[in-house]
């Protein structure tokens, strides 16, 4: 796999990750409660900044952990074809799952996650007063969506294996920046004094598009990986 193809996979996977909305939902709630409590703007920025830092750190830790485990596994079982077949299956099945289940049929932006977990996150967003709690909430929001972000993380970790050593860290950072772009934008809008209801209305009006784009992106990425890695092998490539 070429350097450009590996980077393209990482960027597309990160864009798909960015279309998943749990962290944005929790950030919106956290900011709404902070503003509603008459907190100063500096405190609002501290809380939402800590939340973003928590999501960024856990996303990067998850990606580097998966990449590390894959590298170790590939040393023991060096069949790249097997790992790419798993990635393709995971991406295509997750793409279909996103189309079918990602948003509930209710109004608003209610997601697939169990209602008890959604209530827990909403209660924690309401109760958060300290930067450390906001950081933990950001980290939790990434773990809560692990089922869906596993696909983009797994395929990016595989693509990282194909990068030269000097590019691996850059690949990791590119994934982090692109996958958190939506959260960064919402953070900047809130910090810039934008109205939360407009942000939430935009999210509600465009949720079906985001769902279609996220699911479609996973399926496209699955087929792209299949053509790049599996069909090239069956057509006479090497392991």
């Amino acid at each position: 796999m070429t350097l450009a193809a590996s980077l393209a996979i990482i960027i597309l996977a990160a864009l798909i990750h960015a279309s998943f909305q749990l962290s944005v939902s929790v950030l919106t709630l956290l900011s709404g409660h902070a503003i509603g409590r008459k907190n100063s703007h500096a405190k609002l920025l501290r809380l939402s900044g800590s939340f973003v830092f928590g999501t960024a750190l856990v996303t990067l830790l998850l990606l580097s952990s998966i990449a590390f485990v894959l590298e170790a596994k590939m040393m023991m079982y060096p069949s790249h074809l097997f790992y790419w077949a798993v990635a393709c299956g995971l991406l295509i099945s997750l793409g279909l799952a996103v189309w079918l289940f990602y948003y509930r049929k209710d109004a608003g932006t209610t997601l697939w996650i169990p209602r008890s977990l959604a209530r827990y996150l909403a209660d924690r967003a309401k109760a958060t007063r300290q930067s450390g709690e906001a950081f933990g909430l950001g980290a939790t929001s990434v773990f809560a969506e692990f089922l869906f972000i596993l696909g983009p993380l797994f395929v990016s970790a595989l693509a990282l294996q194909h990068l030269p050593y000097e590019w691996k860290l850059l690949g990791l950072l590119i994934y982090g920046v692109v996958s958190l772009s939506f959260v960064f934008v919402v953070f900047l809008l809130i910090g810039g004094g934008h109205n939360l209801s407009r942000i939430q209305k935009w999210r509600e009006e465009n949720k079906r598009f985001m769902q279609f784009a996220g699911g479609g992106g996973l399926i496209v990425l699955g087929f792209f990986a299949y053509i790049m890695e599996i069909s090239s092998f069956t057509a006479g490539g090497s392991l």
């Binding site: 939902s25 929790v26 503003i35 109004a107 608003g108 909403a122 939360l196 209801s197 209305k201």
Partner: protein
Amino acid sequence: MSRTAVIKRSGQRATELFNEAKLLNSIQAACLSVRTPIGEAETIAKNVSRHLSLWLAERPEVTSEDLRRKATETLEIYQPDAAYLYKHHRLVI
């Protein structure tokens, strides 16, 4: 002060008497969330509370969903953006 009983959501939590301070705080917080100035948020919260007190005066008991729906309808008149957040606060995640 209204003596109306509020039946909580899903019926699993105990019924409690209508608490005007709780309503005022929640309406004010919704207004502040959409960057309404504090003075205006307080005025809107008082107006919504006055409307709701009149509505509750004829009712011995209401459900918390009815209370929220009526509060949203009234808030919609004064601050539509806040009413949107107030209505959808359980539908964000």
